[in-house]
């Protein structure tokens, strides 16, 4: 594995619509792209026994997460004819309604972009050591678990 190639997917705090717009705009020079697929995760104000989730606090085991993401990235580029792939995940406290995950794939035709995006989201949720602590309005918490 080439250490230099490992990209940092983590950002501190929420992913803003302006950041996403900027990322989309950067692709207008790549005129061999015909389709872009994006997935965004947003923090839900879930209810548990009358209490509401105010935010999720994300932590990670960064070195493993980045190495695993690198592995996923290589596998996805091997499997699909993609022009581009971008993944960003929040760390720290992300409020309900804010965006905590942004996956963005591009290819000449729609199908590889869509299929790759879906597969990245599935693998990221299953394989990356990231933990979400759901903080309720009354300052209690519970640990999120992906199904």
């Amino acid at each position: 594995m080439n250490e230099k190639k490992i990209k940092n997917i983590f950002v501190s705090g929420p992913i803003t619509p302006a950041f996403i717009a900027d990322s989309i705009a950067k692709h207008s020079a790549k005129t061999d792209i015909g389709g872009h697929s994006i997935f965004m995760g947003q923090v839900r104000k879930d209810e548990l026994n009358g209490k509401f989730v105010a935010a999720i606090e994300y932590t990670t085991f960064e070195e493993i997460a980045l190495a695993k993401m690198h592995e996923i990235r290589e596998a996805i580029f091997e499997k699909y004819p993609l022009n581009c792939m971008h993944v960003h995940h929040s760390l720290g406290t992300i409020k309900a309604g804010e965006i905590c995950l942004f996956v963005f794939t591009s290819s000449a035709h729609r199908k590889p972009a869509i299929d790759a995006c879906t597969e990245i989201v599935e693998r990221l949720k299953a394989e990356l050591p990231i933990w979400g602590k759901e903080l309720f309005e009354d300052e209690t918490h519970q640990w999120k678990e992906n199904k």
């Binding site: 995760g41 994300y58 932590t59 990670t60 085991f61 070195e63 493993i64 997460a65 190495a67 695993k68 995940h89 905590c100 995950l101 989201v121 990221l124 949720k125 299953a126 394989e127 990356l128 050591p129 990231i130 933990w131 979400g132 602590k133 640990w143 999120k144 678990e145 992906n146």
Partner: protein, 77 residues
């Protein structure tokens, strides 16, 4: 031998990072048994282990200086 224990998520709430000096512990399975006795809450969690920053699927041999990470179910995204 000496093992460094690091923990994440809800495991970190009851089992803080620590250095353990252990005798008669040669595998991750033995280490799990030892810690599940000390921290009964650990036995209720479907956690994964990483040894020196690599996730392991099966029991692994341990050597002095190893870093063992205890990771509860992932919930990124």
């Amino acid at each position: 031998m000496e093992i460094e224990i690091i923990s994440f998520g809800k495991i970190a709430e009851f089992m803080a990072n620590r250095r353990l000096t252990v005798d008669g512990i040669e595998t991750t399975a033995q280490l799990k048994d030892l810690l599940e006795k000390e921290f009964p809450a650990l036995a209720d969690i479907k956690y994964k282990l990483a040894v020196n920053k690599t996730i392991i699927q099966e029991t692994a041999e341990l050597k002095s200086g190893d870093i063992v990470a205890f990771m509860p179910p992932f919930s990124g995204g």
